[in-house]
């Protein structure tokens, strides 16, 4: 077969098409159709009331807060919000689905068409369409590993409100898909409608992936990949799936429409069920719930109460603070990072903005990532970081020494001033003291001095380094440079 000669990794002729379905768990305190608590981690079945258990005769009552949260999302993505929204039953049997149907939405979702701008790489921008977002209840959990030869059912999660956000198939690479997912993740946290915790399953992604020959208008047959619980896995799962599909087609096969499960341990996707085996969900409007009426004034009220959103913040950082597009994007990608920056900046001087941002996005983010901490768990508070930055800008310490101070602050040795004092790190700016050091270095390195004078400019760096070393890093490097040149003339 000639097709086998083509390397599967040869992406050249193939285009990837991706759409995402994101399930964001809404941060209501009680469930979407009952009064039971939504708190995570309680003992099995202690947060499931008669309604969550689907006992005979019980009825759902809609949690209005979930509706408000969904509308908040809709308003934030400029979506069309109909004045009437309808709940429907999605019928299928599974032991952790107590009623034998899930209350979801089908024909009249609460949030209609919208869009969101993503930035997959520095300087790149792309609009991704959002088809719809609808409210639904979560199912419980099946526990397969606690009882020999039996499965357990935990219905604590049953009835937890979810917002399912469905994108258009607008993404063309795993990178774009991740950028989109991150953007939605950031947005729901800005809106305070979801805690975004992926480990606990508060934010879950399913990816619809297909490939087609470049230039084709028609979409290829898609596979839906489920069970992806981190952004890293999202990227890997998509890339694996794309490779698999290319291989299938190049081997003369056809991609079948199916649901595939991502196995992060083996780093592969495998078939869960094909379209033929797929359920016919027999959606129909839930007769137990009345249509939800949403007035223009409800929407206006929610719009008026929206917080500043990442995109607005980013534009403000660029125009008012003069930050670069890239830095503004990074800073606003996470609401907590932006809040940290704003808290710090409120204490700093306007001219310190750029240095402050570099510290937040550089050393602080690096240290947090290494320690696996969120920025709101940072051992260095925003105010403490501002003090450190102030010592750099007022030339008390050099940027290099500042890293030492930062490390000591991270270890909890005190604030910047205390550490600078205790360790004697104050920068030497007294030119007399520096000149003494320079004289010593010149005397100790006659050969290099000779070379410099003979025109070898590069040697200057070595000599500056020697002076800095003698000062144990405390000399002001600019000053050293200047004075050294003068001496060597």
């Amino acid at each position: 077969m000639t097709a086998a000669a083509v390397s599967p990794s040869d992406m050249g002729q193939w285009e990837t098409v991706i759409g995402l379905e994101i399930h964001a768990q809404l941060a209501t305190s009680s469930k979407i159709f009952s009064g039971a608590s939504t708190a995570y981690g309680a003992e099995a079945n202690t947060q499931a009331c008669a309604v969550d258990l689907g006992l005979p005769g019980v009825l759902p009552v809609l949690n209005r807060e979930a509706v408000r949260m969904a509308i908040r999302f809709g308003v934030a993505i400029d979506a069309n919000i109909d004045h009437q929204s309808i709940f429907a039953r999605k019928n299928y049997f599974y032991p952790d689905l107590p009623k034998g149907y899930q209350i979801s939405q089908f024909e009249h979702p609460i949030v209609g068409k919208g869009q969101i701008s993503i930035s997959p790489a520095e300087g790149e921008h792309k609009l991704v369409g959002i088809t719809r977002a609808h409210l639904e209840e979560d199912a419980g959990k099946s526990v397969h590993d606690q009882f020999p030869e039996q499965s357990g059912i935990d219905l604590n999660r049953a009835g937890t409100p979810l917002l399912e956000i469905v994108s258009e198939p607008d993404m063309r690479s795993a990178k774009e898909a991740v950028a989109y997912a991150r953007k939605i993740h950031s947005l729901v946290r800005y809106l305070e409608i979801c805690d975004g915790n992926m480990q606990e399953g508060s934010f879950r992604c399913d990816a619809n992936v297909s490939i087609r020959r470049r230039g084709d208008d028609k979409l290829g047959t898609r596979a839906e990949i489920k069970n992806i619980n981190s952004f890293r896995f999202l990227e890997r799962a998509i890339n694996h799936e794309v490779e698999r599909q290319i291989e299938v087609i190049e081997d003369g096969g056809r991609v079948v429409q199916e649901t595939r499960l991502y196995d992060s341990e083996r780093d592969e996707t495998r078939s869960m069920r094909s379209k033929e085996e797929a359920n016919d969900y027999r959606y129909f409007p839930d007769p137990d719930l009345l249509p939800v009426n949403i007035s223009a004034s409800d929407i206006a009220e929610i719009r008026a109460a929206l917080p500043e959103l990442p995109e607005q913040k980013k534009q403000r950082y660029i125009s008012e603070l003069g930050l670069s597009d890239y830095n503004a994007e990074l800073l606003t990608a996470n609401r907590d990072t932006a809040l940290y920056f704003e808290t710090a900046f409120a204490e700093a001087e306007a001219t310190q903005a750029a240095v402050l941002v570099n510290w937040i996005l550089g050393d602080l983010t690096g240290a947090l990532n290494k320690a696996g901490l969120d920025i709101n768990e940072s051992p260095i508070s925003a105010a403490a970081l501002v003090q450190l930055v102030a010592r750099i800008t007022d030339e008390t310490i050099s940027g290099k020494i500042a890293k030492q101070v930062f490390d000591a602050m991270w270890q909890g040795e005190g604030n910047a001033d205390e550490i600078i004092e205790a360790r004697g790190l104050r920068q030497i700016t007294d030119s007399g003291a520096i000149e003494t050091l320079i004289d010593e270095v010149i005397a100790a390195n006659p050969e290099q001095v000779e070379q410099f004078r003979a025109g070898k400019e590069k040697v200057l760096g070595f000599l500056v380094g020697q002076v800095m070393k003698e000062s144990r890093g405390k000399a002001n490097p600019g000053q050293v440079n200047e004075l050294l040149r003068d001496k060597l003339k």
Partner: protein
């Protein structure tokens, strides 16, 4: 002769008898007659006597509620805390509800004494009470005949004086048809008037609870206790509840009553038609204006109903899967086996038939042709009534096309059984209130007449029925064996 609720209230208030005494009387009557009639699935003797004692204490304080000390029975479809709620099904033979239905709570709060839970067609699916896991109920007027269904146990219990009143539910006629066949008075209120919380669902957009009693005046008292907004039922209405007893004694002069020609056409036993004509004459005599009207889409109500009700029930009954409560098959080998055998063993034939039809109607490719089409027809049927109520105050017709039939006569012919509900079903589709009251006999079996009201106009139905019952005694007649 069995007493009415009104008489029991007077007797209790005047100290003629205590609640414990009258409760014991009823328990004794149940013990005596239930083996033949099979009206009760559970008799809650201990609870009844406890509640009766408490009621006597309240009565002694001279501060009784609407139903303090009055014994009555609940259809076994209303969940009752700590008491088996079977819904007439093997599936729930072991189910003890951990909570009370709102209706049960309201009636208990009004002071009533619960005698027990009454027999019914399995999951309220049937018009003869022959579909019960607990066996058929006999019609007290002739025990070879059906009492109607699905609330056959409640209707028969009231007719035989095993309870002065009982609750029922009506999805397509399940209160009005057995009331007619057993010669008692029953009312299905407007959809949303009585909370559905704790009523085991059959067709959620059609189901309504309501009372059976020996008179319209009694029904007024019971409906008063059952009605009202319930935050636990999103389809419950917050329209204020009328005082149903207040208007009973007012005259009906000038009331415009429409007779839908479709209700008196082919299919109606001419002997029933004559009985009803006589009752109409009586209302005319009292000053009501009678006129002919048309409900042109009446014939469509049966197919429409059977698509809507079955689609809804196919989904409503999915929760009975053997996982959390109810019947579970022995030794399931895997999940599919658990589902198949638990449901296969737990449900009876009619329930299975309806689940299958409903599932089919909702399936991909059929949804538009069946479910969606049925919704369109439902709107047309509702519009027919709305047009009619532009010119009349209430609508009148037979409750059923014929009197009670023999047990077993229609069990092999589901379509003929479904036609029993031809005059009652359209009200459920439209959400309108309807009342059935006894107006005579054919072949020694009671004939029911149906009054149909506009939305939330229950008071008028009760008033017209009461005025009729002031000049007739059909409602007070009791089969000889039970008088």
């Amino acid at each position: 002769m069995p007493m009415t609720v009104t008489e029991i209230r007077q007797g209790l208030a005047s100290g003629q008898f205590s609640s414990v005494e009258i409760t014991r009387d009823y328990l004794q009557r149940i013990a005596q007659h239930n083996p033949v009639l099979n009206c009760f699935i559970s008799v809650t003797e201990d609870i009844a006597l406890q509640q009766a004692e408490a009621a006597d204490a309240l009565l002694a304080q001279g501060n009784p509620g609407l139903l303090t000390g009055v014994p009555l029975a609940h259809k076994d479809l209303f969940c009752t805390d700590g008491v088996k709620t079977s819904c007439g099904s093997r599936m729930l033979d072991n189910f003890i509800a951990p909570y009370d239905a709102t209706v049960v709570e309201c009636i208990r709060d009004a002071g009533a004494v619960m005698l027990g839970k009454t027999n019914m067609d399995e999951f309220a699916m049937g018009s003869s009470n022959e579909n019960s896991w607990y066996g058929s109920v006999a019609n007290p007027w002739n025990t070879a005949y059906v009492p109607g269904g699905s609330s056959g146990g409640s209707a028969a219990a009231v007719a035989a004086g095993l309870a002065p009143a009982a609750t029922g539910t009506d999805t397509g006629g399940s209160i009005r048809q057995p009331a007619a066949l057993c010669g008692v008075t029953g009312i299905k209120p407007t959809y949303g008037r009585v909370s559905r919380y704790g009523m085991i669902a059959f067709g959620s957009s059609l189901d309504q609870g309501g009372p059976f009693a020996r008179s319209a005046a009694d029904c007024a008292i019971l409906l008063q206790a059952m009605s009202g907004f319930d935050a636990r039922d999103s389809t419950s209405s917050d329209t204020p509840v009328d005082d149903y007893s207040a208007r009973l004694e007012q005259g009906i002069e000038g009331f415009k009553i429409g007779l839908p020609k479709e209700f008196f056409a082919e299919g109606l036993d001419s002997r029933l038609a004559r009985v009803i004509e006589t009752a109409i004459d009586e209302l005319r005599k009292q000053g009501a204006e009678i006129c002919d009207i048309s409900l042109p889409n009446t014939a469509l109500s049966i197919p429409t109903y059977y698509v809507v009700a079955m689609a809804e029930c196919s989904s409503n009954l999915s929760r009975f899967d053997g996982v959390r409560f109810g019947h579970r098959c022995d030794e399931p080998v895997d999940l599919e086996d658990l589902y198949k055998r638990s449901r296969g063993e737990g449900f009876g034939a009619e329930v299975k038939r309806r689940i299958l039809i409903g599932t089919y109607a909702l399936s991909a490719g059929y949804y538009d042709a069946y479910y969606l089409k049925a919704q369109q027809l439902r709107r047309m049927i509702k519009n027919d009534f709305q047009t009619a109520f532009d010119s009349v105050d209430l609508i009148l017709g037979p409750t059923t096309p014929e009197v009670a039939f023999k047990i077993g006569a229609k069990t092999d012919d589901p379509v003929s059984m479904y036609l029993q509900d031809i005059y009652t079903i359209s009200l459920n589709l439209a959400g309108l209130p309807g009342l059935s009251l006894p107006v005579g006999f054919v072949d020694g079996l009671p004939v029911g007449m149906q009054l149909i009201g506009n939305y939330f106009d229950e008071a008028r139905l009760l008033q017209v029925a009461h005025r009729y019952q002031q000049v007739s005694d059909w409602h007070l007649q009791t089969p000889e064996a039970y008088s």
